[in-house]
C-alpha cells in the first residue's frame, strides 16, 4: 500500500514539474506551429534569471518568503524581454516556411542561447536554495517529502486550469483559438494575428522560464541544465498530441508514472521507457492521444 502511494506521489510530483514546461511547449506549437527545440534553453534562462533575482532580493534584505516572488519575477523578465525579441526579431522572418525548417531554426537558437548564457552568467554554479525549505516537510505513506515539491503540484494545476479557462472562457482566448484553427480566416475577420503570435509565444516562454525558475532552488544552476528537459517535454507533448492542453497533462502523467514505476520496480528500464512510450503512442495514435485529425486538402 505504502509503495503504491509512494509511486503515485513521486509520479505526480515529477509529472507536475514536467507539465509546467510541456504546457508552454504545446501552447507555442498550437498557436505558432513551431516545435521549439530551444524551449529547454528558455527553461535554463529562467533558472538563471531566478537565481539573479533571488540574489538581488537577498542583498536588499527582503524576507525569505519573498524569494518566491523573486522566482516569479525572474520568469516574467524572461518572458517580457527575451520572448518578444526572439519572436519578432527571429521567428517572424521564417513564418510560412516548412514546419521542419522551423524546427531547425529553433535548433540554431538553442546553440546560440547555450553560449549566450555562458557569456552572461559564466560557468560557476548558482545556488538559490532559500525557497526550497519554506514549506517544510510533509509525510505521505511513510515517506517524508519536501513541501516545496508538493507545492509544485498546486502550481501545475493552477497553470493548467488557468490556461484552459483563459482559452475557453475569455474573449482573448477565443481569439487565440480562432488563430489556432486557421490563422488566415482569423486575419480576414480582423484579428491581429501577429500580436496573438507574440503573446502566445511570450506566454509559452513564460511557462518554460517558470519551470526553470521553480526548479532552480533544488538544483545547481549551471551549464547543461537545458539539455535534459527538452527531450522529455517533447515526449510528453508528442504522447499527448501536439497543441493539446489536456494532452500535455495526460502525457506528463503517463511519463511521470512510467518513470516512477520503473525506478521503484525495475530501475534499468528508466532510460528508454519514455521513448518507448512515445513510439508506441505514435504508432497507434499518430496525432497523439488528444489531437483531431486534420482534413486533407485536395
Amino acid at each position: 500500500m505504502n509503495t503504491a502511494l509512494t509511486i503515485l506521489a513521486d509520479g505526480v510530483a515529477y509529472a507536475s514539474w514536467l507539465f509546467i514546461v510541456a504546457l508552454g511547449l504545446t501552447l507555442v506549437f498550437g498557436v505558432l506551429k513551431i516545435l521549439n527545440v530551444a524551449h529547454g534553453s528558455f527553461y535554463a534562462v529562467g533558472a538563471y534569471a531566478a537565481a539573479t533575482f533571488v540574489a538581488w532580493f537577498a542583498t536588499w534584505g527582503f524576507a525569505p518568503w519573498l524569494s518566491l516572488i523573486a522566482l516569479l519575477l525572474g520568469s516574467v523578465a524572461v518572458a517580457a524581454l527575451l520572448a518578444p525579441l526572439t519572436e519578432r526579431g527571429l521567428l517572424r522572418v521564417f513564418y510560412g516556411r516548412d514546419e521542419v525548417l522551423l524546427v531547425l531554426v529553433t535548433y540554431a537558437l538553442f546553440l546560440v542561447l547555450e553560449d549566450l548564457m555562458k557569456l552572461v552568467w559564466g560557468v560557476n554554479p548558482y545556488f538559490v536554495t532559500a525557497p526550497y525549505g519554506l514549506f517544510g516537510n510533509v509525510q505521505i505513506g511513510g515517506q517524508s517529502y519536501v513541501g516545496y515539491d508538493l507545492a509544485l503540484v498546486a502550481v501545475a494545476i493552477t497553470c493548467g486550469l488557468g490556461v484552459w479557462w483563459g482559452l475557453n472562457r475569455t474573449r482573448a482566448g477565443k481569439v487565440v483559438l480562432a488563430v489556432i484553427h486557421s490563422a488566415e480566416i482569423a486575419a480576414s475577420m480582423g484579428v491581429n494575428v501577429g500580436r496573438v503570435y507574440t503573446f502566445a509565444f511570450m506566454f509559452g516562454i513564460f511557462l518554460a522560464a517558470l519551470g526553470g525558475a521553480l526548479t532552480a532552488p533544488m538544483i545547481s544552476v549551471q551549464p547543461g541544465v537545458s539539455v535534459a528537459v527538452v527531450i522529455v517535454s517533447f515526449a510528453v507533448v508528442i504522447i499527448g498530441g501536439l497543441g493539446s492542453i489536456e494532452g500535455a497533462a495526460i502525457g506528463a502523467l503517463i511519463v511521470g508514472m512510467a518513470r516512477s514505476l520503473a525506478v521503484h520496480t525495475w530501475p534499468p528500464a528508466e532510460l528508454f521507457s519514455i521513448y518507448a512510450a512515445m513510439a508506441v503512442v505514435l504508432i497507434f495514435r499518430p496525432e497523439g492521444l488528444f489531437q483531431r485529425v486534420k482534413a486533407r486538402r485536395i
Binding site: 525549505g133 535534459a228 525506478v263 521503484h264
Partner: protein, 424 residues
Amino acid sequence: MRIIALAVSCLFAASASAQETFKLGIVSFLSGPAAESFGVPAVNGAKVVLEAFNKGQAPAPYNKTGFGGMRIEPVFVDENGGATKQVQELRNLYDREKVDAVVGYVGSGDCLAVAPAAEEMKKFLILYDCGTPRIFEDGQYRYVFRTASHAVMDNVALARYLKARGIKFSTVNYINQDYAWGHDSRNDFKAAAAQLFPGVKNQADLLPKFGAGQYGTEISALLSQPAELTHSSLWGGDLQAFILQAAPRDLFKKTQVVFSAADHVLPGLGDRMPDGVILGARGAYGLMSPKSALNDWWWKLYSDAYKTYPVQAPYRMVQSLLGLKLAVEKAMAANGGKKPTGEQIAAALKGSEWESPAGKIRMALGDGHQAVQDTAIGRTKYDAAKKMVTLVDIQRFNADCVNPPNGVKGEDWIKGGFKGAKCD
C-alpha cells in the same frame, strides 16, 4: 640517472632558440554539463601553470622557462559535442594547427575514440582525466599516455577506507548515472565490497539518466528500502542537485553515503553539504592533498588567480603538464637540445615518474603508459568559523594498495582478491 639527464638538459637549454615555441593543444569541456565541475577549472589551472612555466617561475625541477627554453603556446578546444567531433578536431589540431602535443579529454568515450587516431597519426597525446580502465587494458599504444590513475582506484579506495575505519554495513543501495562511468563505478565498488565485506547484500540499484536534475523519485526509492550504506559516483550538477534534494529528506541521516568523486562540489555547496559523508576525489587532491612545497606553490598560484582552492580537475591537469614538461626536456636533451619529436617525447615519458602537488606519479601500468598515484578518502565536516566544508578522518592509500599491478585488468584484480596489493 635522472639528475644527469637534468644536468645535460640544463646545458642544452640555452642552445634552444629563444624564438622556438612548443604548441600545445588543450582539450576539455568549455560548455555543457561537465564545464563547471571539470572542464573550466582544469583549463583555468592549465592557464596559470603554463604562464608560470613561460616565466620560469615554477619551483625546481620545473623551473626552466617554458619547455626547456621553448615558449609554450596553448591552443584551447571545447570537448563538448561528442566523440566524432573530438576525433576530427584532434586531427585538425595536429595537421592544421601543427600542435606538438595534445593534453586533454575528460569523457571516457572521447578518450577511447581519440587514442587510436593519435596513434595512427604518430602524434603525442596525454589523456589527463578520463576514468575508464579500458584504454590501456584493451589496447596498446606507443604515442598515447594517461597521467592519472583510472577509476578502479577510486572505488577500491572507498571500500578499503570503510574497512580500515571499521565501518560496519550489511546492505548497500546504489545510485549511479546511466552511462559507462556510472556502471563501471558501481561494478567496481560492488566487487570490492564483496571481497572486503563478505556477505554484504546489494539492494536498490538505481541508474538515473545523465543530467536528470530531478531525483525525488530516486530518493523515495532509496528511503523506502534504506540500506546501511549508499554508494554513488554522481558528479557535477547531477551530484549537487541530488544532495540538495536528498538532504531535506534526511537521506544522509538514515544511511551512510559514500561518494566516489565528490570533492569538486564542496566549495560551491558550502553549508548545504551534509556532515559525515565519506568521499573521494579520484586522487589525493584538494583538501586531501599532501603537504609539500610544490603543493603550496600550486595551491597559492591557483587560489590567488581564481579566489577558490583547486579541486580534482585542475590537479589532474597540472600533474599532466608537469610530467609533460620533464618528458619534453629529457627528450630535448637526448635530441641534442633541439625540439624533440612526438616519438622522442613518448620515449621519455614512458615508464617515467615525477613529483606532482598530489604526490608521486608513476607511469607503472599499461607498459609504462598508464599512471598510478596515491589517493585519499575523507569525511565531510562543515567548519562554521572558516565558512567552508573541511574533510576530517582523512586516510591515504599507497598507489600500489589501490591500483592493480601491471598487466592485470582492474576488474580481475578486484575479483581475484587484490593479489599483489602493497598496503602498509
